[in-house]
Amino acid sequence: MRRIISVLMENEPGALSRIIGLFSQRAYNVDSLCVAPIDDSSLSRLTITTQGDDKVIEQITKQVNKLIDVLKISDLTEGSHVERELMLVKVGTRNENSRAEVKRTVEIFRGKIVDVTPKNYTIELTGTSDKLDAFVQTIGQTGEIIELSRTGVCGLSRGEKAMRP
């Protein structure tokens, strides 16, 4: 089962490598990973999407929490949550027809064209991973995907629930 795990940790050199190392060392799976400092710049928040049954996720949570640099950890998928992923994709457009079609698709998906050349568009799109997957599939039929980059999922719990130090 797909899970989104949020980790609050010290923003120190080596902290990220400890978490990544733990995942490979204990043979846990990492689908995506997204990390940046938070409002208190001495801390970083890291979001990992992973796969596993309850037992595996319990172990991942406990083992990550055991790392000295880690303050808090929570499984966002346990409750209702908001998740987003950002994607930049460069799409080659063969002719006027295809340029119009790509533009229309971007509008339908509520994306933005952030860079234009006569031969391609660079598109920015945010949403859930499923939405991004759907966009990639659709756009691939009208234009030629030259390159794309995704941030991986980041997320927060809905409502009052929050992860603070």
Partner: protein
């Protein structure tokens, strides 16, 4: 972010600095003194010459010069196991640091508090593949509890204080402090401030158990008709042995210790069933398998205990007390977890327990004990003594006799380790010192030396074999230099006994590379190192030789004992079976 963000300004008052000024190297030695370190095991080299200079001509911290850095780590490890105090290692960068890796992994697997101070190339050269550069923080990452790469001299005291705090709190473990050469430069002085208290917002181990869980656990334990207490190394790490004994005696509970837990509950106690697991006793494994309640205290349901997890103790309600939440329900699902130190949780148990009627307890467990005694009467540790060859079991029994069961015994890894664990009933904690988790050959001798440094007047013996002893035999020189009268009891079977045993059992006796065809003359070798060697070849010589060995109180004695090459360690669990599916000899099964 560096450890300490604000540079400390030295305060000058009437021309005198209020904060002491010193070099980074001097800070290392001073901080060691301030955390209470008395002994450091190490080996000098380029990156740590400044620290070695600071160690010169001072008496606070005694340095023991080893012959190989792996041994330094094992010595610090043995020192820590025998005392509960953190062991300290000091090595140079590159090969000095990487040589400690096996020692760090050994300590990590057995949760032993250790701090490894490693030199590093100067900060400005990190990443340039400089001479003797390795990424020590990276190399050691999967086998440390935590690590520090110090960036500035003024951060040294705090990094060292934190390292010792982390190493010896919660579930203990090794911590690496990597010190680039420029941070310990003796030419530059910086203000020294040692933190009075270490506090870390991201690290607060749970020591006290949850009261609701404790009440639940007690209810199940007191109701149980077929209970057993399963005690691991965690009970020794927090010095909970007296409480474990008190609980078992009060409630008349049968007790088994893991390999790491030997001595946590007295081995000569009538309620003790012996070690459990792969080479556990019949009574211990049968009692576990048939129990309706297992109280696990600081044990981790290791694969060398459980055998096939699918068939593990099918009738038992499991209560698991452990300081590490990640150890709970890792391999075996636990019914009542209690996170906390065994010592604190057992104290809470007693607070919650009402008056216990001992006679009532006896009645309640009468049938259970009768069953256990029936299993015990099988005498699974009996062995044939009439072969004319020295039996390894016999050597351990003789060792027990000649040390009055009161020595510190370290071991290497293999058959001799299991024989020592099974035939030397350890009555006290911290007396049995072996590499249980990692299974490191070469651990025994340096560990014994570490114990001897901690307890100069104690009797310390290393039970080893002709394979293991050669993995760190160079330390005989260190023993001479520091006058360490360790007794080496080598069960020489001219083979890698445990490998050979598995080859006998699982590979039709094809002894692929498990023989030792060109063994040195260990007696002469020991003499060359300046010690005493004794060769024993006949069973009737054994006792006298052992007596001679222990009479030489101030000497290191190497006992080279020729034992039966074909002896196997039994009992032994049958692969993929339940806990109590065991071979009892080459022909019998349980």
């Amino acid at each position: 972010m560096p450890v300490c963000a604000i540079p400390i300004q030295p305060i000058k008052l009437m021309g005198v600095f209020l904060v002491e000024m010193m070099s980074g190297a001097a800070m290392v030695v001073r901080a060691l003194k301030d955390v209470g370190v008395k002994h450091v095991f190490g080996y000098p080299g380029g990156a740590v010459l400044d620290i070695y200079d600071a160690l010169y001509a001072q008496e606070d911290v005694q340095h023991i010069l080893v012959r190989h850095e792996q041994a330094a780590a094992h010595m610090a490890d043995g020192y820590a196991r025998a005392t509960g105090q953190t062991g300290t290692v000091l090595v140079t960068s590159g090969p000095g640091a990487t040589n400690t890796i096996t020692g760090i992994a050994t300590a990590y697997m057995d949760s032993i508090p250790m701090v490894v101070l490693s030199g590093q190339v100067p900060s400005m050269h990190i990443g340039e593949d400089a001479f003797q550069e390795t990424d020590m923080v990276g190399c050691s990452r999967p086998i440390v509890k935590h690590s520090f790469l110090v960036k500035r001299a003024i951060d040294i005291p705090e990094a060292i204080a934190k390292a010792y705090y982390i190493a010896n709190s919660g579930r203990p473990g090794p911590v690496v402090v990597d010190l680039p050469k420029d941070t310990v430069n003796v030419q530059e002085n910086h203000p020294y401030r040692f933190p009075e208290k270490v506090q870390m917002r991201s690290y607060n181990p749970t020591i006290k158990g949850h009261l609701g869980q404790i009440k639940k656990a007690l209810k199940v334990l007191l109701k149980a008709k077929r209970p057993i207490v399963y005690v691991g190394g965690g009970a020794i790490a927090c010095d909970a042995s007296p409480l474990v004994t008190e609980l078992a005696e009060k409630l008349k509970l049968p007790v088994t210790n893991t390999l790491m837990g030997l001595g946590a509950f007295p081995g000569d106690h009538p309620q003790f069933l012996g070690m459990l697991g792969m080479h556990g006793t019949v009574q211990a494994n049968k009692t576990m398998h048939n129990a309706d309640c297992i109280l696990a205290l600081g044990a981790r349901f290791d694969d060398r205990v459980t055998n096939n997890v699918q068939k593990f103790c099918p009738h038992a309600q499991i209560i698991h007390v452990d300081i590490d939440p990640a150890s709970i329900s890792k391999t075996i699902n636990v019914h009542i977890p209690v996170v906390g130190s065994v010592k604190t949780v057992l104290t809470q148990f007693f607070e919650q327990m009402h008056e216990i009627d001992e006679n009532e307890r006896k009645d309640q467990l009468h049938d259970w004990w009768e069953q256990i005694e029936a299993w015990r009467s099988r005498d699974c540790l009996a062995y044939a003594k009439d072969s004319g060859l020295i039996k390894p079991q016999q050597v351990i029994e003789s060792l027990y006799k000649h040390t009055q069961g009161d020595a510190f015994i370290t071991s290497d890894v293999g058959q001799h380790q299991m024989f020592a664990a099974l035939y030397y009933p350890f009555a006290k904690p911290r007396r049995w010192i072996n590499s249980g988790g990692l299974g490191t050959m070469g651990f025994g001798l340096p560990a014994a030396m570490g114990v001897q440094v901690a307890h100069p007047d104690a009797v310390v013996a290393c039970v080893t074999g002709d394979g293991s002893i050669q993995m760190n035999i160079q330390e005989l020189a260190t023993c001479l230099q520091y006058g360490m009268p360790v007794k080496i009891i080598s069960l020489n079977n001219r083979a890698l006994g445990m490998v050979r045993q598995w080859q006998d059992m699982n590979y039709k006796g094809r002894h692929s590379h498990s023989y030792m065809d060109s063994l040195p003359d260990f007696v002469k070798l020991t003499e060359a190192y300046g010690h005493v060697g004794i060769k024993v070849e006949k069973p009737e010589e054994l006792d006298d030789a052992m007596a001679r060995c222990f009479a030489l109180k101030d000497k290191l004695v190497f006992m080279d004992i020729a034992v039966d090459q074909n002896e196997h360690v039994y009992p032994m669990q049958i692969k993929y079976g339940a806990m109590d599916d065991m071979r009892l000899s080459k022909t019998e099964r349980s």
